[in-house]
């Protein structure tokens, strides 16, 4: 029954979409009016990475919404994955069995990953990447300590309290920069400070600042999320969990 209803609907949707697809300007066409305007605007504000310029300057409001979605999901996951009333947290005894080579690899990889992540964040307005991509790398990178078999070390490197702060500071800073720009120039999230020269680290005005705020938020957000799932998987015990 369910499948029949679905197939009937899906058939209709496919017909609708295929007929529509036949009327789209063909793949790879030269019709991109917004592109032309966005590239011009990006050049005007000396942002070498046009995608970053769109995200943080031209359509910054979208990114504010996006960061808030991240914040809401992380808060939501934190609420949902908190130990329930009838559950207890139990610290795993020690590292468990981890091969020495794996452990070394984990310890070795972590700083490298963090440096790469920070670099990706810092150059977001110049080269591909940015706060989001770099933040993901940093937030995941910290968890290599778990691969290294050291949950206590992970807890030290990732004090959840500080990470939660980071996530709030990132989101708050993004919105505050927007309001500051509103006060300074009359337009929310406008690009108010000097723009520097093309391709340099210090260029594109507020883009690197907003980018940095996103980097902080995404890095801490990723860390909180992975941390919450990890904790749930290895520490939280339900009432009928005998192990």
């Amino acid at each position: 029954m369910r499948t029949v209803v679905f197939l009937a609907g899906a058939a209709g949707v496919v017909v609708l979409a295929v007929v529509a697809a036949l009327h789209i300007p063909g793949f790879g066409s030269t019709f991109h009016p917004y592109r032309t305007a966005a590239v011009e605007a990006s050049v005007k504000h000396v942002a070498a990475n046009v995608v970053s310029s769109v995200n943080f300057d031209q359509r910054g409001l979208d990114t504010l919404g996006e960061e808030s979605i991240l914040l809401a999901s992380i808060l939501g996951a934190a609420i949902l994955l908190r130990p329930a009333k009838d559950e207890t947290e139990k610290r795993p005894l020690s590292a468990g069995r981890v091969l020495e080579s794996t452990r070394m690899l984990g310890y070795l990889m972590m700083p490298i990953t963090l440096v790469i992540g920070l670099d990706v964040i810092a150059h977001g307005h110049v080269t591909p990447g940015g706060g989001f991509q770099g933040g993901v790398v940093v937030g995941t990178g910290i968890h290599l300590l778990y691969v290294a078999g050291s949950y206590p070390a992970l807890e030290k490197a990732r004090p959840l309290r500080a990470v939660e702060w980071g996530e709030a500071i990132g989101a708050g800073a993004f919105a505050s920069l927007g309001v500051a720009a509103l006060v300074a120039s009359g337009a929310f999230l406008s690009n108010v400070i000097g723009t520097g020269s093309f391709g340099q680290l210090l260029s594109a005005g507020t883009v690197p600042l907003l980018n940095g705020a996103v980097g902080i938020e995404v890095a801490s957000g990723t860390a909180v999320l992975l941390g919450a799932f990890l904790k749930q998987a290895i520490m939280v015990k339900g009432p009928d969990d005998s192990r």
Partner: protein
């Protein structure tokens, strides 16, 4: 060829929905949902593509800002979309974990308390 990317996009959307309909495990359904969403990535990037155009980044290697580039706006939209996908997936996985704790199952056929 001119329409193939759009068809792939629609295919991903529909096949993901199909997966949810047939799913016997909510975690499986959540991943099918993210497959559905990838349909939107493919559609958006296909819409912004232009033959023989470069990525919309003029930094390294330094390119002259007048070079022909693909549409950066759809890329920015897709980036936003990917963040949405990841975070919503995380939220739903957290819900799934709790459902399993409370019901002992993730099979939607056995979760029938919200009927009527």
């Amino acid at each position: 060829m001119s329409f193939y990317p759009y068809l792939v996009a629609v295919w991903l959307l529909v096949v993901g929905a199909f997966g949810i309909v047939r799913s016997r495990n909510l975690i499986h359904a959540i991943l099918c949902l993210s497959v559905s969403q990838s349909g939107t990535y493919v559609l958006l990037l296909a819409v912004g593509y232009q033959w023989h155009a470069k990525p919309p980044v003029f930094g390294e290697p330094a390119t002259h800002p007048t070079a022909k580039v693909v549409d950066p706006v759809v890329q920015a939209m897709t980036l936003t979309d990917i963040v949405v996908s990841a975070t919503v997936t995380a939220l739903l996985l957290a819900l799934a974990t709790q459902i399993h704790k409370r019901h002992g199952t993730l099979d939607p056929d056995e979760l029938r308390q919200l009927k009527g």
